[in-house]
């Protein structure tokens, strides 16, 4: 299996979509979820970790995720009922207009078999509360790039608490990498340094 992970990673980083698909489809269809767990997730985690350590670039994380997402979506359409629906997850960008971080995390989750609601760019706290209530969102993932957007998240997390919602908030983006205590200051439950942290964070929050 380790060989598969290494080969899959190599094919993604060299943008070899055909080879990547071959590796994933070596197993019979019924083993797809196993392949997602044993090949896709560790590979994407490894690529994310390598970005964190400065060994690969963000563009490679993005392109790898995109190829991976395309292959997985062919094998497992977004509306497939076997996708992981629990916990109920939504993702959005808050206040600023920098969408790449959200896109990479969304790609990673979809390539890992998760069903995720994409809320796009959001500014209105009332609108966000309304949506997470109606969609019964258990984990809300929020990406920001600007420091002021990050600091304004406190108003949102306060509103979620005031509405008596048990939704957990996970944040990510540059301000949280440069100040690793900032997520607590804005009332979030966790933060991801890179997209590769997301599965562990979801598992930890699920266990709570």
């Amino acid at each position: 299996m380790v060989e598969n992970i290494e080969a899959f990673e190599e094919s993604l980083l060299s943008l070899d979509r055909i080879q990547a698909k071959e590796i994933l489809t070596q197993e019979p269809d019924t083993a797809l979820f196993e392949a997602l767990e044993t090949v896709v997730v560790p590979t994407m985690e490894s690529i994310g970790q390598k970005w964190e350590e400065g060994e690969v670039a963000l563009s490679q994380v993005y392109m790898s995720g995109k190829i991976c997402e395309e292959i997985v979506e062919e094998l497992l359409p977004l509306d497939d009922e076997t996708r992981i629906e629990h916990p109920n997850i939504a993702i959005m960008v808050y206040r600023d207009f920098h969408m790449l971080g959200k896109r990479i995390v969304l790609t990673f989750l979809r390539a890992s078999g998760y069903k995720v609601s994409d809320y796009g760019h959001q500014e209105s706290i009332d609108e966000i509360i309304k949506r997470i209530k109606s969609d019964k969102i258990e984990i809300l993932l929020i990406s920001v790039l600007m420091l002021n957007s990050a600091l304004h998240l406190k108003e949102l997390t306060d509103a979620i608490k005031a509405a008596n919602l048990s939704t957990k908030v996970v944040v990510g983006g540059a301000p949280f990498r440069f100040d690793t205590h900032l997520y607590q200051e804005v009332g979030a439950d966790a933060f991801g340094k890179s997209a590769s942290d997301i599965i562990d964070i979801i598992d930890t929050l699920k266990a709570k």
Partner: protein, 341 residues
């Protein structure tokens, strides 16, 4: 020494009277003048007045004639969105890849939105004479498309559409060079070439060599003044060996990389600008600020080739006056040459 002499001495890799420091303040000018950020950036007179007051208060070694990053896409016709406590942002990207073949660069010299930059620069030049360097800014042709097209669409273009990529670079390069030279004509001493996409944090070195590196070489060669290249807190160590070949004299470095290692890698071919943590700075006590400044000077100051600054290229709005004053005091305390161990 005047700030100009101090900066030129350190850029010559010699030790001036003390370590120069650049507080790259933009939004704080609005606070100083009691204006909203949108009002502040609406004309050159405000920015001149803001820069003048900020340097009077904090004593740093430059004026910064930078307004806001999306002013360049605004010149292309894009919309800019203001906020009450952060830098203006570009709104929805205006450029689809299908539009690239017919895209034309605005005339940087006559573009109405850029006149306020030239006005501020001219006023600063008249005020500073040649005693304080005035630092202008351009986005690199290679990094501007993030605001023109959006990040995802631009990465797809880099990887999948080489012809369209080249066409876009031609347009952006002309605009970048003209904008830089117009600022120099107005009185800027040097130009900061902001190129975050070229950082190995964002793009692998092998792609950089084929793209951002060559574009920097061609652009910087046509900018008629000194340039500093800033990666806006992205890493640079893996490309430090080739950066001098772009023609840049100074590199803005990240807090995630060690100043001592960077200094070694610069091999007296590049001067360093950095690398205080701009995000954490908001919460630093006076004591913490002084400790960080002392450490940066210890690692980067010896032998010159070093300007103390934060690592992002713009001090966030939330950084307090006390912290900025503590940086000033710490430089005065620990930054006099010869440096004490």
């Amino acid at each position: 020494m005047t700030p100009m002499q101090r900066v030129l001495t350190t850029l010559g890799h010699e030790e001036p009277d003390r370590v120069p420091y650049f507080l790259l303040l933009t939004l704080h000018g609005a606070k100083e003048l009691g204006l909203s950020i949108e009002e502040y950036f609406s004309n050159g007179q405000n920015v001149f007045e803001g820069q003048k007051r900020l340097r009077e208060k904090y004593g740093h070694d430059c004026y910064y004639s930078f307004f806001y990053a999306p002013i360049e896409v605004e010149a292309f016709g894009a919309k800019v969105i203001y906020s009450e406590d952060g830098p203006p942002n570009s709104a929805t990207p205006f450029l689809k890849k299908e539009m690239i073949p017919t895209l034309q660069a605005p005339d940087a010299k006559t573009a109405p939105i850029l006149q306020k930059v030239y006005e501020a620069t001219r006023l600063l030049k008249a005020h500073a004479k040649d005693e304080v360097p005035i630092i202008g800014v351009v986005m690199s042709p290679f990094s501007l498309p993030v605001m023109q097209m959006g990040f995802e669409a631009y990465l797809d273009l880099i990887y999948n559409e080489p012809k369209l990529f080249d066409q876009l670079m031609d347009v952006n390069m002309k605009f970048c060079i003209d904008f830089a030279n117009a600022q120099l004509e107005a009185g800027a001493t040097a130009i900061t070439y902001f190129d975050p996409i070229s950082s190995p944090t964002i793009i692998p070195k092998e792609i950089y060599l084929k793209t951002g590196f060559k574009i920097a070489q061609q652009s910087i060669a046509q900018i008629k003044g000194a340039t500093a290249t800033h990666f806006a807190s992205g890493n640079v160590l893996p490309i430090m060996d080739i950066l001098p070949q772009t023609g840049t004299a100074v590199v803005g470095v990240s807090t995630f990389e060690d100043l001592g290692e960077l200094k070694k890698a610069a091999k007296q071919k590049l001067s360093l600008l950095g690398n205080l943590n701009a995000i954490e700075m908001r919460k630093w006590s006076v004591e913490e600020t002084k400790a960080y400044v002392k450490e940066a000077i210890r690692k980067g100051g010896k032998g010159g080739g070093f300007i103390l600054a934060e690592n992002h290229g713009e001090v966030p709005y939330f950084v307090q006056e006390e912290t900025l004053l503590a940086i000033k005091e710490a430089v005065e305390e620990y930054g006099n040459y010869p440096l004490q161990d």
